[in-house]
């Protein structure tokens, strides 16, 4: 259980311009959701470009997707879904004053996130080796097939790259949460950072849920 009473925690973490801790939490959540909305629209721009170009060059898209490994993609999907589950459990335990379980679940999330990046690394190095590079670095002579695969891989690297960057940011944030959780910063009265970073992490998962079928599973 927490070492602080809720009132003490409220006093410690409530910023001066809020009247109650509840108001502060609502505001933080609204702010986070607004930020997530901007993330959705940013990725969304890529999805729209990807979808429109798929309509113009369907053959190139199918040819490009044949170079992707759907087993690795599926494994990564499972990793991210599991990490999302452990993240939500971490939020649950943080909100019920179970410190060690919070830390443990944050650790599991971190492990899955690392595993995701390791697999991404394997995929990327494979692609570099085969000349499946974006744009003008695409080695068409080696790969063969429609030339617009260069554009497909442009999208592939941008979408997975920006997503991977978000995973990396998530890793840093979750590691920071672990330190704070271990220090006993969170309790049922105050766990806003776990809650907010949890939302962020689920969004990273949510975007991958769309990326996976779009990139790996077109036929």
């Amino acid at each position: 259980m927490s070492s602080h009473s809720p009132e003490v925690a409220e006093h410690r973490y409530r910023q001066h311009h809020f009247v109650t801790a509840g108001q502060q939490l609502d505001t933080s959540k609204t702010g986070m959701w607004l930020f997530l909305a901007t993330e959705i629209l940013m990725f969304g721009g890529l999805f729209v470009g990807y979808g429109l170009m798929q309509g113009v060059y369907p053959e190139a898209w199918v040819a490009g997707h044949h170079h992707l490994d759907r087993v690795l993609g599926a494994v990564n999907t499972v990793f991210l879904l599991c990490s999302s589950f452990s993240m939500v459990m971490a939020v649950h335990y943080a909100s019920t004053d179970q410190k060690s379980k919070t830390v443990l679940n944050l650790g599991i999330t971190l492990a899955f996130a690392f595993a995701f990046l390791v697999i991404k690394y394997i995929e990327y190095s494979h692609k570099f080796h085969e000349g499946l590079l974006p744009g003008r670095y695409f080695r068409l002579a080696e790969v063969g097939g429609p030339p617009q695969q260069a554009m497909f891989f442009g999208f592939y690297f941008m979408m997975t790259g920006i997503h991977g960057f978000h995973v990396l940011i998530g890793i840093i944030l979750i590691a920071w949460l672990m330190v704070r959780a271990n220090r006993g910063d969170f309790s049922s009265a105050y766990f806003t950072p776990v809650d907010l970073i949890g939302l962020y992490w689920h969004l990273v998962d949510l975007i991958w849920i769309y990326l996976f079928p779009l990139l790996y599973l077109i036929s």
């Binding site: 109650t20 509840g22 108001q23 939490l25 609502d26 959540k29 609204t30 959701w33 607004l34 997530l36 909305a37 901007t38 959705i40 629209l41 969304g44 721009g45 999805f47 729209v48 979808g51 429109l52 309509g55 113009v56 060059y57 369907p58 199918v62 759907r70 599926a74 999907t77 499972v78 879904l81 599991c82 999302s84 589950f85 993240m87 939500v88 459990m89 939020v91 649950h92 909100s95 019920t96 049922s188 009265a189 766990f191 806003t192 809650d195 949890g198 939302l199 689920h202 969004l203 998962d205 949510l206 849920i209 769309y210 996976f212 079928p213 779009l214 790996y216 599973l217 077109i218 036929s219």
Partner: protein
């Protein structure tokens, strides 16, 4: 629901069930990609429907939208609506462009600097719109 009470009052069981559902749906979407539904459009639609189902589960349960203030759901949904606007209007344009020649967008010029002025002889152009 302005206090952080909602998380406390729930057992973690729904989270576990959600995870299992998500894993099953992942299997389904991989399996569906091997099935030929007749046209690639149908395949894309099936994949997107499954993805949307998964995304809804994540948003409603993992992200607590089910119990959260409606404002946050409104923000989430409106981001999707505005994305739809971007996609929709771009599609309207790209799909309905007048093709002066059947090649349209896909016509790619040979490298510049060559002595090319106009593609001659000009193919007969359909004069309809």
């Amino acid at each position: 629901m302005s206090e952080q009470a909602h998380s406390k009052s729930h057992s973690p069981l729904p989270y576990l069930l959600t995870l299992i559902a998500l894993l099953i749906l992942t299997g389904v979407t991989v399996g569906a990609s091997y099935v030929d539904f007749g046209s690639s459009t149908v395949n894309v639609i099936v994949a997107m429907l499954i993805a949307t189902l998964k995304a809804s589960l994540v948003a409603l349960i993992f992200m607590h939208l089910r119990h959260d203030k409606p404002l946050n759901s409104i923000i989430f949904v409106s981001s999707l609506i505005f994305l739809g606007i971007l996609l929709g209007f771009c599609m309207i344009d790209v799909q309905s462009r007048e093709r002066v020649y059947p090649t349209g967008l896909r016509q790619v010029d040979p490298p510049a600097g060559a002595a090319k002025i106009v593609p001659a002889p000009a193919p007969p152009a359909p004069a309809h719109h």
